[in-house]
Amino acid sequence: MILLACPNCGPRNASEFRYGGEARPRPDLNAVSPEEWSDYVYMRANLLGVLREWWYHRAGCGLWFIAERHTKTHEVTATYVWTGEHV
């Protein structure tokens, strides 16, 4: 069971949220090559360890935010609002 602290609503069961996958910087659309774009679209780090990832509070306030979660122990070490810079 994962308990996630929504930055707005506080700790809630993970079933209230939708998972958004790895948080990664998007390449510069004006400078990216087709190969780099393919890598960005399809390839994943699929990390075993603490992953920075997107979550969406679907059954709550509707916020997309970042969580840092260990992908084996499910320990959540931080949740915060994305500030607009690349993560």
Partner: protein
């Protein structure tokens, strides 16, 4: 009787070991990482069809301890894309011959497979699947509630459920199999032909020199080799990372459970794409039940209450009579999901490093055909036509397969 007593007193098991233990050699022609059905089948067909026997299968725990021993053992070929249907159909045919081929009963029971449709949209997809299947010569057709009731009288076909059953895709050759027996049979067959199966042998690194594989490091020492096959599930990214090959994979747990044993009442496999459940009754009478992958990526093998609640609710929609039945065990396996619900097989940018990964929720049913075709790829150093659609390069070439007939996909 006297023989039995003598045997009992002798303290020795009457059957020989099906596979032996070996010292780790410092060189093998082919090293296969992962001792599941894919890895062992590849080793078996390498030895049987191509005479390549200087092969090691490395397994970090015991053979069949990963996805091969954790799946719900369903075999079918009624997929949605022509590539998928052709591929899984060959797999079903290999499974049909497997008991005779391996001289080991794998208990393949082709009891029929029903995929339920709960909406007009689902009926349309089923009709599409049936047409694709029939053109490829696979026995598969759309049936309506009267025939569903004859095949499976315990299903709730009334309009009481939230999602009433409208129709079903009926696939008579589909069924279930004893998954451990498949692993053991391939292991015995490979061992007999000279393959070394190394259990409790964990890969810790892969050596790449000038873009070519030169060896594998393990907890028991280094092996020099020019060919490494990554046939792992769950950990395929971690093994590929060792060779410096990126994969379009995210790993999600897939959970399943079994109930206490009941008298036999269900002799077909029942699947609902809309409700994300599948259920069959094992030879021991247990209801074997599974669902979609967990909604977040993870390497955890823990069971969750969320899953059990969701699954039970959906199973009771289909079979209200199971309400008093108790769940006996619940477990998880790790599924490597790809963007197009299709596997990744064959060459990678590193010469000599091959993959048979990304098997999502459908790896077990493809074990024999993958083994056979990957063995052919290794022996001939060319990609067989049947598995060409599943090459790693398809992502860069934007030629995805899009297999929405996979188990965790709704329609």
């Amino acid at each position: 009787m006297i023989g039995l007593i003598r045997q009992g007193l002798s303290g020795r098991h009457p059957l020989r070991r099906r596979w032996r233990e070996h010292e780790l050699q410092d060189r093998y022609d082919v090293v296969i990482v992962g001792g599941g059905v894919h890895g062992l089948a590849t080793a078996y067909y390498l030895a049987r069809d191509h005479g390549i026997t200087n092969v090691a299968v490395l397994e970090k725990r015991y053979i069949g301890s990963g996805g091969s021993g954790r799946n719900t053992a369903i075999i079918r070929s009624n997929y949605l894309t022509p590539e998928g249907v052709l591929f899984y159909d060959e797999s079903v045919k290999l499974y049909e011959e497997l008991s005779a081929e391996l001289d080991f009963n794998v208990l393949f029971s082709q009891r029929g497979h029903l995929t339920l449709a709960h909406s007009d949209a689902a009926v349309r997809t089923m009709r599409w699947r049936a047409e694709v299947n029939q053109i490829q010569g696979v026995d598969s057709r759309l049936i309506w509630p009267d025939e569903i009731a004859r095949l499976c009288p315990h299903l709730d076909l009334s309009d009481r459920p939230r999602y009433p059953i409208v129709a079903a895709l009926y696939h008579p050759p589909g069924g279930i199999i004893r998954h451990d027996a498949v692993v053991w049979g391939y292991a015995a067959g490979a061992d007999e032909r000279g393959v070394h199966i190394h259990q409790l042998t964990e890969v810790t690194g892969i050596d790449v020199e000038h873009g070519r594989v030169s060896g594998v490091r393990t907890n028991r020492g280094r092996i020099a080799t020019g060919t490494v096959l990554n046939a792992t599930a769950g950990w395929c990214t971690l093994i590929s990372d060792m060779a410096g090959v990126s994969l379009p994979v995210t790993s999600h747990p897939l959970q399943a459970c079994v109930s206490e044993a009941l008298k036999p009442f269900l002799d077909v496999v029942v699947v609902s794409g809309s409700l994300h459940v599948y259920v069959s009754q094992s030879d021991r009478g247990e209801m074997v039940m599974g669902a979609a992958v967990d909604p977040y990526q993870s390497y955890s093998l823990d069971a969750t209450l969320d899953f059990l609640e969701g699954l039970s609710g959906h199973i009771l929609e289909l079979f209200p009579g199971l309400a008093p039945v108790k769940v006996l065990r619940q477990w998880a396996g790790i599924c490597d999901m790809t963007p197009d619900y299709s596997p990744i097989m064959g060459f990678t940018p590193v010469a000599g490093f091959l993959v048979d990964v990304g098997w999502g929720t459908y790896g077990f049913k493809a074990g024999p055909v993958s083994g056979k075709r990957i063995a052919e790829l290794i022996a001939t150093n060319t990609t067989p036509e049947l598995i060409r659609p599943f090459r790693l390069a398809r992502f860069a070439e934007r030629a995805l397969v899009g297999e929405k007939g996979a188990a965790s996909v709704g329609h």
